[in-house]
Symmetry: C2
Subunit: 260 residues, 2 copies
């Protein structure tokens, strides 16, 4: 397979469309904004849009498609949400039923696609600012935890905020906060720094999603609102049909991370 | 009538609810955020919410109610959108049919209320910063103009951005920009400073909405995205039912303008 690390967003999307790319996207198309995908039918799309509007930190909206249109025209030219992600998850009544490489046969005139900002967008900037990103150093997925922070509900959608965690020194946490303030559409500044118990997290080694990472002496955990939140909430609603990206297999936009 | 200038948002809402207050709200409950109201049925509320999400400068969302609920619980405690505005406009198929002081008899289980930020919120801060607000000095409504800036459409909602105009010196325009950057939920920084022709506005003395104001020697017109935009767009969609506040007769929230 070609090296897609220096590719454009459009090149990664084309590789996914042709099924040349069926694996995860972190590290690909460096400098381009990657996004979480949630697809729901129009009859509950209002509730989901309202949920995102009420909870902008975990659910930063990058684009929402017109019902039936698979093209997120404001963030990716000539893209097709049905084919341009490497792999999808299809849920029926809250149960995972398939992980296809396209959703052409599932598409309907009433489906609405939501693209939500993702922390991959700020991690490169953290590294450039000298802040360690431990899960990347360890080649793992970021650890994620359910918290006691209730999202503001909307219609059928309700549930706790999920956070991601990156360990670093207090000085690095201050730098990370400054860096992430530039990325309000990628979760923005941390929601909490320090004692995990405040968030009702009692064992950092047992994340609810992703992989645990090492916290070194002198480091403190730093927590960000996480894009898994809207997916967890959508899943908990046990909708007749819900389609998302497979974790780590994101939609790559035409947006430059530097502009976010 | 009591002097409501130093009243709280809740006190103004109570006065509107009892029909003690049926007139305009500018200058009342100073320091509290006032909001535009748009009420539409749920079946097109998704499109309208999407329109607002796609056009945040003219349509800064302060709150959206659950279908059927008249309480905008995140911005006003124990408020009721059916009674707590001094006066409403009721449109059917794009035609104004009534201007009642409550909408209790019109309310339905499928209605959704949208509260949108309003420039009244930043005008007091402009005055405190030494920037003139000419239409207040002249005791007039702010002049508003249709422009050649197309809003991003969503479903049935499409149309040009409407802007409000305040004349001031270039130095005051710089101050106003700095002040308004603090109010992203009240239209934020100006969309244009200077030559109105750039926006396809050819006679400042003939606003499309509101009243003309004097532009003095050495002053330049400064234009802000205006909350009349979503109303004009909703009206143009000629919906079977659309309810808004009567211009100038706003919903007063519990939010402090200083916090915006």
């Amino acid at each position: 397979m070609r090296d897609l690390r220096e590719a454009t967003g459009a090149e990664v999307r084309r590789a996914a469309r042709s099924s040349e790319l069926t694996g995860p996207t972190p590290g690909l198309a460096r400098g381009y904004v990657q996004a979480n995908l949630v697809v729901v039918p129009r009859d509950i799309a209002f509730d989901f849009l309202l949920f995102c509007q009420r909870n902008p930190k975990p659910c930063p909206l990058l684009d929402v498609t017109e019902p039936g249109s698979p093209e997120p025209s404001s963030v990716a030219h000539s893209a097709d949400l049905r084919t341009d992600l490497p792999r999808y998850c299809v849920y029926r009544h809250g149960e995972l039923v398939d992980e296809p490489t396209d959703i052409l046969s599932l598409w309907r005139d009433d489906l609405v696609g939501f693209l939500l900002g993702c922390s991959f967008t700020f991690e490169q900037s953290l590294i450039e600012a000298g802040v360690p990103v431990r899960h990347l150093e360890m080649c793992r997925n970021v650890p994620m935890y359910r918290t006691n922070i209730a999202c503001r509900p909307a219609g059928v959608f309700r549930g706790p905020m999920v956070v991601s965690m990156r360990p670093m020194t207090p000085e690095q946490a201050a730098t990370a906060t400054r860096v992430c303030a530039r990325f309000p559409q990628a979760h923005g500044v941390p929601v909490h720094v320090g004692d995990p118990a405040i968030l009702d997290i009692h064992d950092l080694d047992k994340p609810d999603f992703g992989d645990p990472v090492e916290v070194r002496p002198g480091e403190t955990p730093v927590f960000w609102a996480c894009g898994v939140t809207p997916q967890a909430v959508a899943l908990a609603a046990r909708l007749p049909l819900l389609i998302t990206h497979k974790p780590g297999h994101m939609f790559v936009t035409d947006l430059s991370a530097a502009d976010r």
